[in-house]
Subunit: 429 residues, 2 copies
C-alpha cells in the first residue's frame, strides 16, 4: 500500500512562512502551560461575553428586517436560514452606525459584510493585486493577518517603519518612489490609524490629512483597519481616514469581534470606489466573496445587527463600557510595569504607553524570541508574544507584546510581578 | 477633486470571468420577475427551515461540549462567543457522523470545519497549487464554485467530459497523459460522485474503484464533494470515495447547507494526508484558514453540532425526511415534463432522469442562453439556469438546468406547464 505522502515543498509557499505558524505556536504554548498568565491573546475581555443575549438580538433584527423589506414573520425568519446575498444582510444597519459614529457617509450597497475583518482584507487584496507587478506597503510592526493574506496571494510587501504618530510618512513617500523606480509600484498601503496592533501608534489629525494627500500624490489606495478605534478614551475619538476621504482613496475595514464579540465572525468593508462606468469595488468584492465563502452566515449577521439596533444603531454606544475597561486595564498594566520595573532605563527594559488599544510593547536588552518565551512560561508562568511575529523577516527582535484585554485586575498585577521576576532572574534586568 | 476611479483591467482577472457573474445574473433576473416560478435556485426546500430550533440545538451542543472538555456552563457558553481554533469546534461530532453514515474513518483532528464547502474547496486548492505549473481536472459540466475558486487562485483547469456514470475515466486518463506531456501535469481531480451538480450523474461502485486506481496510477489527488449524497433513495446509498480510499488519495468535502440549512455556513473537509513527518494536510488547511476567515463562527458551528447530536449524531437520520421530499420532487418534475412535452424526441427536447440530487438537465434544439432566459421570464413567467454557466468556456450550450429543490408540488406543476408553453411558442418545440 502506498500512501499519498505530501512533500511540504509541493504545497503553497505561504505554508512555509513563519507568519502562518505564529498563531498556532502561541496556542500550543498556552495549551502546554494552562496555569500561566497569558499576556498573549488580543481577544476581548471574557466577562463581556456573559451578557450576550443572541435570542433577543436576533428577534430585534428580524423585526427590523420584516419592517424594512415588508416581510411577514415566517419569510423574515427564513432569511436567517437560507443562503443570502454575498454582499450581506445587515448593510443598512452597519452603514447607519458608521455614519452616526464616525461620519463615514457610505451607501449600504457599497458595504460588504464579511467573515470578520480578515476576509475583508483577503478579498480586497485579491481584487487589487492581479499580478505580483505591484506591491502592498505596510507599517512595521504589522498585524500578521495582513502579512498572511498577502503571502497566500503571492503579493509583495514593502515594510515602512511606524512612529508614535503612525506610519512614517517620509519613509512611505521614499518607499513609493523606490518601488516605482524598481518597476514594482505600490498600489495600496495598509494602516490602522488608531492604536495599531502591535505598535500602539495613533495618527494625529494632521498626519491623517498628510497621508491622504500623499496617497493622491503617489497614486495609491489606503486600506484602513479600524479595529481599535473604539478603545479611545471617552471624548478622544478621531475621525477615521474614510471620514476625511474626499477622493475615494480609502477602503475602510472593520470588525465586530472586539466591540460585539469574536464568535459571530462578522466584519465589513466599505469600498465605494467606482469601477468602470457602472460598478463599485464593493460589487467586485461581493463577486469574489461568492467564490470564497459564498455569504456571511445570516444567523451570525442577525445577532450583530440586532445588537447594534439594541444600542441605538451605534457602535460607539456599544463600545463605551468596553472602552472604559480597556482604558483601565491599559493604565493598570503600565502602572504595574512602572512599579515593578522602576523607571526602566536603568535596567535596559523600556515600554511604550499607548493612549488606547489592547497592547504595550516592551523593549528588552536581548532578543525576545521563542526560546526566551519558553523559559518565561516554564519557569515563571507568564506568557507574551514575541514581536518577531509582527515583522516581515525573521530577524531577531528585542521587543515583545503584552496584551491587557483578556485579563482581569488581579491577573494583570500577578502577571506583571511574574514578568518582572522573569526579567530579573533570566536576563539580569 | 479627483476620484479614485478604478479601471476594471487593473483588478484581478477572475473578476472578468463570466463564472463570477453567474450567480449575480440569476439573482438579478429573479429580482426583476418576482412572480416567475424559478427552477434556478439549488437551495433547500424552504418548508424545512421553519422547524429549526437554534436555541435547542445550541443548548444540546453546549451540554456535549461541557461534558467532553469538562467545562462548567459559563466557560462552555463563552466558547460560542470567543475566537476558536481554526480547525473547528465540532470536529468530533462531524467525524462521528462520517464514520456512522459513510464508513469514513477520520480522526477529528484531520477535519477542518469551514465556512461552507466553498471555503473548504478554496483552501484545498490554495494548499495544493503553489504555482500554475500543475492543473486541476474537473468533470464538465462543473459546479461553478470550483471554477470560481480556481480562477481566484490562477489555477489552470482541464475539463473532462462527464457520462451518466460520472467523470469519463478514459478521457481523464488521456487528459492526465496529455497534461504531463505538455509539462503541466494534473495534480488533483474534482468530482462529485453522487448526483453531480448540474450533470446529475452518479458513479457506480466499480467506477469509484477504477477512479481510485487511476489516481494511484497517474499520481493525482481526488477532491470529492459529497453535497448531494444524502438525496439517494432510501437504501440506495453508495460509499463515498473516501470510504474506499486505502491510500489517502481522497480529500473529502461536505456541507451542512443542504442536510441542515444554508444560513449556518458550515462545511467541512477531511484531509488526513500526511505532510512531511509530523503534520497532515488538515494542519496546513487550518493554517491557511487562519489567514482567510480565522475560524468558522462557533455560534453557527454549535447550532449544526447540536442538530447532529439531536439526530443521533447522524447525517443520514437528519437527511432522511429531506431525501424523501427531494426524491418526490424529482419524480414530479420528470413526470410533469413527460406529460407536457411527450416523449420529447419528436420536438427535439430531451432531458435526463437522475436518481437523486436536485437537478434535471434539458436539451433544446437551440442555444439556451441568457437572451432566451429573458424571453422565458418576461413572456412565460418561468426561470431556469443556462448550462453555459457550468462550462469552462463561453461556448453556446443548448442545455439548461431545472432545479426542483426549492419548489412545492403545485409550483412544479405550474412551472412545467409554463415551461412547456415557452418551448412551444418560442422555439417551436
Amino acid at each position: 500500500m502506498t500512501t499519498s505522502h505530501l512533500d511540504p515543498a509541493s504545497l503553497h509557499s505561504s505554508l512555509r512562512d513563519p507568519v502562518l505558524g505564529s498563531i498556532g505556536f502561541l496556542n500550543e504554548v498556552m495549551a502546554r502551560y494552562p496555569d500561566a498568565i497569558s499576556f498573549a491573546p488580543g481577544a476581548p475581555y471574557p466577562g463581556f461575553l456573559d451578557g450576550i443575549d443572541t435570542e433577543r438580538y436576533t428577534r430585534r433584527f428580524l423585526e427590523h428586517l420584516a419592517d424594512e423589506q415588508r416581510l411577514g414573520p415566517v419569510k423574515a425568519r427564513r432569511l436567517l436560514f437560507e443562503y443570502g446575498p454575498s454582499r450581506g444582510l445587515i448593510n443598512g444597519v452597519v452603514a447607519g452606525a458608521l455614519r452616526r459614529d464616525h461620519g463615514i457617509d457610505a451607501a449600504p450597497e457599497t458595504l460588504v459584510i464579511t467573515v470578520g475583518a480578515q476576509e475583508a482584507l483577503f478579498l480586497v487584496l485579491r481584487a487589487l493585486f492581479p499580478t505580483s507587478a505591484e506591491q502592498l506597503a505596510v507599517a512595521v510592526p504589522c498585524f500578521p493577518g495582513v502579512v498572511g493574506a498577502a503571502r497566500l496571494l503571492g503579493i509583495g510587501l514593502v515594510g515602512v517603519r511606524e512612529t508614535a504618530d503612525g506610519i512614517d510618512l517620509d519613509a512611505l513617500e521614499a518607499a513609493c518612489r523606490a518601488a516605482r523606480h524598481a518597476g514594482r509600484p505600490i498600489r495600496a498601503c495598509y494602516v490602522a490609524p488608531d492604536f495599531a496592533n502591535p505598535g500602539g501608534s495613533r495618527m494625529s489629525p494632521e498626519s491623517r490629512h498628510q497621508l491622504l494627500r500623499l496617497a493622491t500624490r503617489e497614486d495609491f489606495l489606503l486600506l484602513e483597519d479600524n479595529v481599535y478605534g473604539f478603545t479611545a478614551a471617552s471624548g478622544a475619538g478621531l475621525p477615521p481616514l474614510k471620514a476625511l476621504d474626499s477622493e475615494q482613496r480609502v477602503i475602510h475595514i472593520g470588525t465586530f469581534a472586539k466591540v460585539c464579540f469574536p464568535g459571530a465572525r462578522v466584519g465589513y468593508v466599505v469600498a465605494d470606489q467606482p469601477v468602470g462606468a457602472r460598478r463599485t469595488l464593493a460589487d467586485e468584492l461581493a463577486a469574489l466573496k461568492s467564490m470564497v465563502t459564498v455569504n456571511t452566515s445570516p444567523l451570525a449577521q442577525a445577532v450583530i445587527g440586532g445588537m447594534l439596533l439594541e444600542h441605538g444603531g451605534s457602535l460607539a454606544r456599544l463600545g463605551r463600557a468596553k472602552s472604559a475597561l480597556y482604558q483601565r486595564n491599559l493604565t493598570l498594566l503600565c502602572a504595574a510595569l512602572e512599579r515593578h520595573l522602576g523607571a526602566g532605563e536603568a535596567t535596559g527594559v523600556t515600554w511604550n504607553r499607548p493612549e488606547g488599544g489592547f497592547f504595550v510593547r516592551v523593549n528588552l536588552p536581548v532578543p525576545a524570541n521563542e526560546a526566551l518565551l519558553e523559559i518565561s512560561a516554564a519557569r515563571h508562568g507568564v506568557l507574551w508574544t514575541p514581536m518577531s511575529h509582527f515583522h516581515l523577516d525573521d530577524t531577531g527582535d528585542t521587543q515583545l507584546r503584552l496584551s491587557c484585554s483578556y485579563l482581569d485586575t488581579e491577573e494583570i498585577e500577578t502577571g506583571v510581578s511574574r514578568f518582572a521576576a522573569f526579567l530579573t532572574q533570566e536576563i539580569g534586568s
